[in-house]
Symmetry: C2
Subunit: 299 residues, 2 copies
Amino acid sequence: VERLGTVAIIGVGLIGGSIGRALRARGLAERVIGIGRDQARLDKAKHLGAIDITATDVAQGVKSADVAVVCTPVSRVAADLCAAALAGPSAMLLTDAGSTKQTIVDAVERDERGRTMYVGAHPIAGSERQGAAHARDDLFDGRACVLTPTQNTPPDRVGRARGFWSGLGCRIVEASPEEHDKALALTSHLPHVVAAALTATVPAEMLPLTAGAYRDGTRVASSDAGLWTAIFLQNRDALLHALDTYQTQINDFRLLLTTRDADALREWWESFKARRDLLRESDSSPIAQNTANDLESET
Amino acid sequence: VERLGTVAIIGVGLIGGSIGRALRARGLAERVIGIGRDQARLDKAKHLGAIDITATDVAQGVKSADVAVVCTPVSRVAADLCAAALAGPSAMLLTDAGSTKQTIVDAVERDERGRTMYVGAHPIAGSERQGAAHARDDLFDGRACVLTPTQNTPPDRVGRARGFWSGLGCRIVEASPEEHDKALALTSHLPHVVAAALTATVPAEMLPLTAGAYRDGTRVASSDAGLWTAIFLQNRDALLHALDTYQTQINDFRLLLTTRDADALREWWESFKARRDLLRESDSSPIAQNTANDLESET
């Protein structure tokens, strides 16, 4: 891996902070600039070892960057990408870590300068916790990072984006922005809605009678309301479709329970239990790897 | 805590095995007899330190027991309790660990001998894993155990049941069988259905694009299909009601998303996030303890 000069991280929270920590722990960059609006939070991120230098102005922060990566909430990603494109050197690689892609990619591709530098990305890693204080240099180890280049994306930037994200430890998967959003509606956004609805259903006074199923099934309901509301809205159509599919499964279960069909209930459960059992072994089993390769639209 | 003589455990899987390990680790009994149909599994449980003595016949196994605790699948609990009542000494305490209570308690109270010895119990602890190989002597530490005595239950047995289950590390909560089943439909059975439906919704080829929300939200879908089918059927009415309540939450979310109501979506999420945040601190916080006390119908 070729060592990078300056990497600018716009938004130094859990994801941005973890990128900074991974870059520094692996010696991948000469310097890491953290860009944000709140100097105190930037100072804290620097103190925690996530960044080398701080900047509160995007234009100033990216002016000599080899790579600029935007890690702000999805409602701000497109604007931050365009601001970085405007101020950064024309050779800069521009990428992001947003949980939705179609809205963001469309917006940057309408920007004349942005589209010459940008490769959409989504490292599928995170936590219900927020802030650089929870950042980890191994957050991306073995996690999938979906890159969403389009026919307008310069091929050299795709190669550099692969190098940047795989340098942080990610397995690279490529998909169109639309494919990404449809898949993530099922694999991430729906699980968040399900966890939230489950939390909302169980009254607080019953918490002492919960155990592991509730605890694990609701963990991500502790995630930030504003961040997730923005993600849901940006991926509204795909998420509504995912909810339809989920609803069909709940309805199937309900019918079998209403009619007391023991054999069919057991078969329903058995039909997907094997799928979940696979995951128990390892995240990076050969099966998971092969499946990841099948998803790539190009390699 | 007065030391017990002989404790007979009928069904030495994860729960029965953990009771045996806790009794032995804490020196609470002179001997622990494990009763099951499969001698090889009993030998393994003995080798693992969960029991001292094995028996394949319930009548023989319980004949000198001070306590008999039934830990078989819920579809077999009532029959095993009645068999143990028939063969055990009249001073024996009879209890169980079944995840449903109304069906079991009703059946044992129709048994003339069973009702003179029995206190229904449900230690709320477990795992998606099965078998004595996964048993742990700390499985019950700080976990709630719901006792479900009725007006027919001899008061001395209630006291002895409290002593037995609290000796294993449980916090004792009392409730009627009906209250238990309604609460557990929400706190345990619904979370299992939700996890199963989520697993069924996400196709296997998308597993590489899942992260923590999916992993945690689907963990219990690896549980045994037969065990859970039996629990769902025994608690059918309360579970259907819990599914109605859950469905209302999903529908509320869906409407807010369809109408792109960002403020209301954020408020919906915020309204219960605090409830889940509480759980993040600790299972045994003063708040959780106080709430547990509120639930007790008698103490």
